[in-house]
């Protein structure tokens, strides 16, 4: 962002969408795009590595391999070429988590393709969050939704795994389904929340709250001043 200071630093060569530019070393890919005058709208959401809007494909000098990354989090290197992948046309299941009756079976109604995983591991290799995506697909197939939930907590829904899957499925959507079913249908309702809800229902706090609401602003301030 602060270009003035970076100007004295080393410049590196990059290629953005097939065109060559010089940008300051130490810039992220998104910063490099701004530096070279690109207006980036599709492809930016949070700028903080959590929204998954900035999925990008790139290569580094002297290596034939295609790699993927989140552009807001990845620093440019000399000789790098990259292009943003704005969005992946994925198919999402249409369901209401409250109406699931046998979530483990229904997985194959909503996402029959999940059973066609060919174990190539490309999804895991591409995931910028380091998730074992292949494993999460298999755990979902075997009905171990708890394991899916644990494996995929950091998924930013960037869709990069979809871009590589040879079975053409959307592993992150399958994981989301499994996570939700686990939370809504398998996990017992938390006890501490249940008892607090009961107490609120019975109205045992409303007297005291009403009393606070009846105080003058100064009285209220004084009452709340000390930590109880």
């Amino acid at each position: 962002m602060d270009n003035s200071q970076k100007e004295q630093e080393t410049m590196v060569h990059v290629s953005i969408n097939g065109r060559d530019f010089e940008v300051p070393a130490g810039s992220t890919m998104v910063q490099a795009m701004w530096y070279t005058g690109h207006e980036v709208i599709h492809g930016i959401g949070c700028l903080g590595g959590v929204c998954g809007a900035c999925a990008t494909v790139y290569r580094v000098k002297g290596d034939f391999r295609l790699r993927n990354a989140l552009a807001c989090q990845t620093l440019v290197q000399d000789g790098m070429s990259f292009s943003m992948l704005d969005s992946y046309p994925i198919q999402r299941a249409h369901y209401d988590v409250a109406h699931l009756s046998d979530p483990k079976e229904e997985l194959f109604t909503f996402y029959p393709e999940s059973a066609t995983c060919r174990n190539c591991n490309a999804c895991t290799e591409v995931c910028p969050q380091g998730i074992d995506v292949r494993d999460s697909v298999w755990r979902a197939n075997f009905g171990d939704f708890k394991a899916v939930a644990e494996l995929t907590m950091s998924c930013v829904m960037c869709g990069l795994c979809v871009s590589r899957c040879i079975a053409e499925m959307a592993p992150h959507e399958i994981a989301l389904y499994a996570r939700r079913a686990y939370g809504a249908k398998e996990l017992p309702f938390p006890t501490n929340l249940r008892s607090r809800l009961n107490e609120i229902e019975k109205g045992i706090f409303s007297r005291e709250i009403d009393r606070l609401l009846g105080l003058s602003p100064d009285e209220l301030k004084k009452e709340c001043e000390v930590k109880s």
């Binding site: 959401g45 998924c155 938390p190 929340l193 607090r196």
Partner: protein, 531 residues
Amino acid sequence: MSDLVDSFYALMPEFDETSPPALSPDDRARLLESFYPDYRPEGKATIRVGPSAGTVVPEEIAALLESRSRIEGPRPLPDHPDRDVDILIVGGGGAGITAALHAAEQGAGVLLATKLRVGDSNTVMAEGGIQSALGEGDSPVDHFRDTFRGGHGANDPALLSVLVQEGPRMVEWLISRGILFDRDPQGNLSLRKGGGTSRPRLISAKDYTGLELIRVLKEDVVNAPVEILEFSPAVELLQGPGGACAGAVLWDLDSRKYLYVKARTVILATGGTGRLHLGGFATSNHFGATGDGLCMAYRMGAKLVHIDSFQYHPTGVIFPSEMAGMLITEAVRGAGARMYNRFGRRFVNELETRDVVASAIIRECSEGRGVPTPSGASGVYLDLASIDREAGEGTVAKRFPNIVKLMTRHQVDPTKFPILVYPTLHYQNGGLQTDQNGHTSIPNLLVAGEASGGLHGTNRLMGNSLLELFVFGRRAGLEAVKESRERAPFSWKEVSMAHVDHFEQSLAREFEGADRPMAPTLFPDYRRKDS
């Protein structure tokens, strides 16, 4: 580590564990007055036009409110609106999605228009958690007191009473949608401590709380009977009979055309203002946080509260510089992280309220006790290693995987090396004046979420904002259904942008024809000017 990072950490002092001096209420007041940006005279302007005339605010806020429209006058409307709906919701973050889901459930026709993709918002970025008074020995009453104290007693007690009493019910709703919060071994929701609260009260999904919320709620709203328009920010509201709101003009970012929406009720859920970079501060906010809702509603005459009050979160990353502004959640201080100045000394109790901690950091840096960075900024050390020392090796990695991942990508291992931090512009405490059902001072214009003001007083406590989205997002959604059913029918002929014309005339009078900035800006422009 890279050379730059290496040489930066080579200069680190020994850390001295001695406790910092305790602060009296007077010390706190003095500290805030001397260093907190809200109380400093620099970079301020007095509003001259509109309902907030006379209020002293950051210059960037004055420029936002006293601005000219993106749509040049005269402003004729097309013969027919492009859409005619019961409810238009502007903004697809947590508040907007919650309102949309609850309104659609009642059978109302809902259009949700948002600037980027649904969920690209401040909500998805939330790390720390949601306040919900669930612990034994805790209660909604304690939650009320803590929030009121933290907000310097400027909170609207009526809003606050709704928040604390309905909060747990909304947590129940979230769980029923399949949102996974951290549990303790007994299956209870785990409760963590945040700054400024007397009890552990934060429920969270590791440090991915916002991501977990948005992943699930986005799927629900996409599957609900709600029409969604992405990349279509509202740029102006429409006015109907009696000065009531009657819809909005959207700007299609791809086709670069206006889209005219007639609506019986409009809910503004446009979130905050961080990307206006008040006072030149870096920000933790998402790319679209430019205060659009405030600006559009202000032209219509909507009242604002505490619009001079902002939250500068104490711990934004300041080095490596490409990460500037990125948030390190307060939960790390709740878990025992320590802060040190360039001499390795602690200078404030890490669990003071955000504004006090931020002021103390600014004091250290402006009095020469900050740690200089290679790019000429300065900050203080935030050391997470003390968490692992106290709570056991591996705690940081387990509880804060996101921070570890993000910092490590930038060559800093936060379990071994302290993170250099400086306050970052984080939250708009005030906003559009509202009541328990989301009404603004304009008929048929409702508000929910960060765009509203009053609930948090002049300092929001961590975790109350997310709770607010669900409690008041739901209420606004339901109220919009009611209002759109009760509203007398009106025709497109009665709809106009007359309020914009009037507002611009007042500006021209007050500023004697001098050019005013155009707003909403929609996005910051970080492109190099000579590129």
